[in-house]
Amino acid sequence: MMALVVSLVSSGRRAGVLPPLVLGAAILLLWEVGTRGFGVPSVILPPVSAIAVRMVASHATLWEDFSQTFLKGALSGYIIGCGAGFLLALFSDRVPFLQRGLLQVGNFLAAMPIIGIAPILVMWFGFDWQSKAAVVAVMCFFPMLVNTVQGLAAAGAMQRDLMRTYAASYGQSMTKLRLPAAAPFIFNGLKICTTLALIGAIVAEFFGSPIRGMGFRISTEVGRLNLDMVWAEIVVAALAGSAFYGVITLLERAATFWHPSQRRG
C-alpha cells in the first residue's frame, strides 16, 4: 500500500526550487523570532540558533549516535531485509502457487504494525545494533517482497512470448526482460524501505540500547528536557533519511532511465 504513496509522489508535478526554499526560510525565521520574541521556554521549543549551536558543539556525540543507529543498525538491516525480500520474490516466481499466497499475505503483513516486534527482537538479539538490524530487516522484508513480486509480473505476455520464440533460457529472460521491467517496482520498494529502516532502528532503541544511538539519545535527552539536543538528533535523522532516499532515487534514475516517469522537461 505504501507503494501507492511513492508512485503518487513520483508522478506529482515538479515545481521550481525557489518557492519551497522561501517557505522553509520563512518558517525558520518565524521560529527563531517567535521563540526569542515571546520568550518561549527552551523546554518547549528551543530557538533554531540554539539547535545549530548544539549541533556544532556536540558533533562528536551526534556522529557516534549516527554511526550506531544508521550505519550499523539501519543500513545492515536494510541490506539484509531488502535482499531477503528480493530473493524470496525470485524464488516464489518459479512457484506460481506460492506467489499468489505470498502476495496476499505479504500485502496484509505490510499493513500491520510490524514495529511491535521490536521488543521481541531486542530480547532475542541483545541491546546492541544487531537487534536493531533485525527489526529493520523484518520491516523492510514485506514491502520489498510485494513490490518485487508485482514487478516480476510487469513484463507483458507478448514480450515473454517473444523471449520464448528466441528460445531464451530462464536466466536470459530474467536478466534481459523481466528484471529490467521489474526495476521501477523494485526501486519503489527500496525507496519505501529507506524511511522504514530509520524508523525501525530508532524506535527499536526505545526498547533497550547501549548508551549511544539516536533513539536512545532522543528518549534520554527528552527525559532530561534537553530539547536542543533532541532537535539536533531529529535534524540528523531528517538529513540522513532524505540523503538515503536521495541516493536510492539517483540509483533509480541511473538504472531506469528508459522509464516514462524519469523523463524530464
Partner: protein, 304 residues
C-alpha cells in the same frame, strides 16, 4: 478460490515454521531447569551457555514437550499466544486493565481521533494545493520531503513537550496519528482532485459552471477512488503512530504500553498477544475503511 487456497498454504507454512522453531528457541532454559531439577540432561562439552540449541534438541528429545509450555519462553508457542489472547479478551471484564479489549480501546480512540483530524486536515490542504498555485509550489515539495523523514522519531518529544504544558492522554497520541495519516491523504487527494481530464473540465466550462460548482460536481466525486486507498494507508499509519506514542511516557494503558510493560518484565506471551491484538485491530480498521469504500463507490457509480 485458488488464491484462498494458496493463502492458506502460505499461512500454514508460517505456522509450521513457528511450531518447529519453538523447541530450538526455548531448549536452553528447559535444559537448565531440568538439570537443576535433577532430570538427566545430556549437555555437550563447554557447558550450557556455549552449547548449540540444535544439538541440545536432538540429544534431549524428552525435553521438547516442555518447551511449548514455559511461563516466560523466548518464543511462545502459537497455542500459548491464542490462549493468552482468549484469556485477556473473553476472560476479563472489558473495563479491567488486564483486558486486552480495554487496552485496544485506549489505542483505538487515539488512532481514530488522530485519523479523523489528519484526514480532515489533509483534504483541506489538498483542496488548497489544487486551487492556489502559491501553496502548490511552496508546500507540496515539503509534504513530499516530510515522507523521507522518520517522523515517528518525533513521537517521544511531542509527548513530553505536551506533558510539560499540561496536556496528557489522548491529545498527544492523536497528534502523532494525525501527522502520520495526513501525508497519504494529501497525496491521494491532490492526485484525485486533478484526475478530471481536459474534456471534462471543458464540458463544465461550456456549462458556464463556477469554480465552486466544478469542485462539488466534478473534482470532489472524481477524487473518491483516489481518496479511499489513501485512507487505508492512513489508518494503518495512524495505528502505528498511536502505539509508538504510548511508548515514551511509559503510558499505563494501550497496546503500546502492553508491549513496553511486557518487554520490561520479560512477559513474552504478553508481548506476543499485544502484537497480535494490534495486528487484529489493524485488520479490522483497514477492513472497515474497505467496506465504506465498497459501499460509497458503488453508490457513486464507480463499481464495475
Amino acid at each position: 478460490m485458488r488464491t484462498m487456497q494458496s493463502v492458506l498454504i502460505v499461512v500454514g507454512g508460517i505456522m509450521a515454521i513457528w511450531l518447529a522453531a519453538v523447541p530450538f528457541m526455548n531448549i536452553k532454559w528447559e535444559a537448565n531447569m531440568a538439570s537443576r531439577a535433577g532430570v538427566e540432561v545430556s549437555i555437550p562439552e563447554g557447558g550450557l551457555r556455549r552449547a548449540s540449541a540444535v544439538a541440545l534438541v536432538f540429544t534431549n528429545p524428552h525435553l521438547i514437550p516442555g518447551t511449548y509450555v514455559q511461563e516466560k519462553p523466548r518464543l511462545p508457542g502459537p497455542q500459548q499466544v491464542v490462549a493468552e489472547l482468549w484469556a485477556t479478551t473473553a476472560g476479563e471484564a472489558v473495563t479491567s486493565n488486564r483486558s486486552l479489549v480495554y487496552h485496544a480501546g485506549v489505542t483505538l480512540t487515539g488512532t481514530v481521533a488522530g485519523f479523523l483530524f489528519g484526514t480532515a486536515l489533509g483534504v483541506l490542504l489538498a483542496v488548497a494545493i489544487v486551487h492556489v498555485r502559491v501553496i502548490d509550489a511552496s508546500i507540496m515539495p515539503w509534504v513530499i520531503a516530510s515522507q523521507t523523514i522518520p517522523i515517528l522519531a518525533l513521537a517521544p518529544m511531542i509527548i513530553v513537550v505536551m506533558n510539560s504544558v499540561g496536556i496528557t492522554g489522548l491529545v498527544p497520541k492523536a497528534i502523532i496519528s494525525a501527522y502520520l495519516s495526513f501525508f497519504p491523504v494529501v497525496v491521494g487527494m491532490v492526485k484525485g482532485l486533478r484526475s478530471p481530464d481536459a474534456m471534462q473540465m471543458d464540458l463544465l466550462k461550456t456549462y458556464n459552471a463556477s469554480a465552486a460548482q466544478t469542485f462539488w460536481k466534478l473534482r470532489l466525486p472524481a477524487a473518491a477512488p483516489f481518496l479511499f486507498p489513501s485512507l487505508k494507508i492512513g489508518i494503518a499509519a495512524s495505528l502505528v503512530g498511536a502505539i509508538v506514542g504510548e511508548l515514551p511516557t511509559g503510558a499505563v494503558a494501550g497496546l503500546g504500553a502492553r508491549l513496553l510493560a511486557g518487554s520490561y518484565y520479560g512477559q513474552t506471551v504478553q508481548i506476543w498477544s499485544a502484537l497480535f491484538g494490534a495486528a487484529i485491530l489493524a485488520a479490522i480498521l483497514v477492513g472497515a475503511v474497505g467496506l465504506i469504500q465498497a459501499f460509497a463507490l458503488k453508490r457513486m457509480g464507480f463499481a464495475r
